[in-house]
């Protein structure tokens, strides 16, 4: 666990030296948000479409940045050293934390901007934040694992999205559905099954990834 923390700190420092991933992911989300906003306009879309659009923006923005964490290790040939100094599991957890951090940074900027630009009225803000939080856990867990696979496959750009989409789709489906409810209904209880799905997904994928990561990392 300590090693995972150290790897997280190392990645954070490295990130702030170049700021590549965070710039890419933020600019990407702003660009898509602008495109969507231009296409739809502020007052013409209802909450169903808006909550779907929010998740599409979040999904594709995260696709533009989450793979960087492992691809960088392969590009700079530092993965062998990393293998020597720490066990695979803590590498995975460290990288997972970093991707989570990246996603939260993305959401802190994109989500308020989206609400402001698209004129979205959120009736149940606490449920809304909870859904975004749980969704990020799922996105980060699935995305990090696929990123590890991709980095060993020679980091073919489009492959990351293709491989991630079927794996991350449960998050998108339940996230969109729960966001709709957060936007339209004042109570949490109607969204219970979506929240269960999001929690279960995050737990299952994280566990499976930790078990499988060893085979990818030491390949």
């Amino acid at each position: 666990m300590l090693k995972a923390w150290l790897i997280f700190k190392k990645d954070l420092q490295q990130e702030f030296r170049t700021r590549y991933a965070i710039n890419a992911i933020l600019l990407f989300s702003v660009v898509t948000l602008t495109a969507v906003s231009f296409a739809i306009g502020a007052f013409s879309a209802d909450s169903d479409i808006l909550s779907a659009l929010l998740w599409i923006i979040l999904f594709f923005s995260s696709m533009s940045g989450l793979s960087h964490i492992f691809v960088r290790e392969e590009e700079t040939h530092t993965s062998d050293t990393l293998k020597l100094v720490s066990p695979a599991t803590s590498v995975f957890i460290g990288k997972l934390f970093f991707n989570l951090f990246l996603l939260f940074a993305l959401e802190i900027i994109t989500v308020p901007l989206f609400i402001a630009v698209m004129n979205l009225e959120v009736i149940n803000p606490s449920l809304f934040i909870l859904v975004i939080f749980l969704g990020s856990l799922g996105l980060a867990a699935g995305g990090t694992m696929v990123a590890a696979i991709i980095s060993k496959a020679g980091a073919k750009g489009a492959l990351f999205t293709i491989l991630s989409f079927p794996i991350l789709l449960p998050v998108l489906i339940s996230g969109i559905s729960a966001t709709k409810k957060a936007v339209t209904e004042p109570l949490i209880s109607p969204a219970a099954s979506e929240l269960q799905a999001l929690i279960a997904y995050a737990v299952v994928i994280t566990t499976a990834s930790i078990l499988l990561f060893d085979f990818v990392w030491n390949e």
Binding site: A153, L163, P170, L212, F215
Partner: protein, 232 residues
């Protein structure tokens, strides 16, 4: 040598039995079984659609099992087996999608409705496509095997979400298939004894066909690996 000849003989007999069985199933599906109450002639696609969907799941399960075996034993033949299962799986997934789509057009009025089961078969097709895309992107044999095995297992882990959770969020159009077969008294479709007979023998027949196809694939893999060894 004599043993081998006997095995080949038994296999040939089984092949002929399978052929006759499937011919009977097809004839039975069109001639023997009555149409379900309240529904038209198009219900006959049931005898082909459901077995296809069942085999798709079976193939997917098989490839997950071989992927786990590969990661445990690191023998290249398990990777080839997983790939073969996926190749057959994608074939049956396409067949299930096409037959299902025709049925949907007749029963619900449009070829595609994003019903939960339609969604899950579509995702399955996407997963298969991604699996083969991943395989074609990697050159090294053992790396290709390990990464695609990991991806296969990861994808397999997400499947329960599509089967159990998506239907709870989106209203489905499909009748409850499992309950239908077990209780044979579903509200949407009543399965009479003749329908059930043809349906179950169709299920058995197509499963037999699948087993035979898998066996051919595996024999082919064995030969290929032997040739590779001899070349070395």
């Amino acid at each position: 040598m004599k043993m081998e000849r006997e095995i080949i003989l038994i296999q040939n007999i089984l092949k002929i039995v399978l052929f006759i069985w499937l011919v009977l199933v097809i004839i039975g599906a069109f001639m023997y079984a009555p149409t379900a109450k309240g529904l038209g002639e198009f219900t006959r696609v049931l005898y082909f659609h459901v077995p296809m969907a069942w085999i798709t799941v079976l193939a997917f399960l098989l490839s997950a099992v071989y992927s786990i075996l590969y990661l445990k034993k690191k023998e290249i033949r398990f990777d080839h087996h997983a790939e073969a299962a996926n190749q057959l799986g994608i074939l049956f997934a396409i067949l299930a999608t096409v037959t299902g789509s025709i049925w949907a057009k007749m029963a619900w009025g449009s070829f595609w409705n994003w019903d939960p089961r339609e969604t899950s078969i579509f995702i399955l097709l996407l997963i298969y496509a991604a699996y083969f895309a991943l395989r074609s992107a990697i050159e090294q044999e053992d790396r290709k095997a390990a990464l695609s095995a990991v991806y296969s297992i990861l994808a397999f882990v997400t499947v329960p979400f599509f089967i159990f959770i998506v239907p709870r969020i989106y209203e489905g159009l499909h009748p409850d298939v499992v309950g239908e077969v077990v209780k044979a008294s579903d509200k949407k479709m009543v399965m009479g004894p003749r329908i059930l007979l043809v349906f179950l023998s169709s299920l058995a027949g197509f499963t037999g066909l699948f087993v035979w196809m898998v066996k051919m694939k595996f024999d082919l893999i064995k030969l290929k690996l032997k040739i590779n060894e001899l070349e070395k």
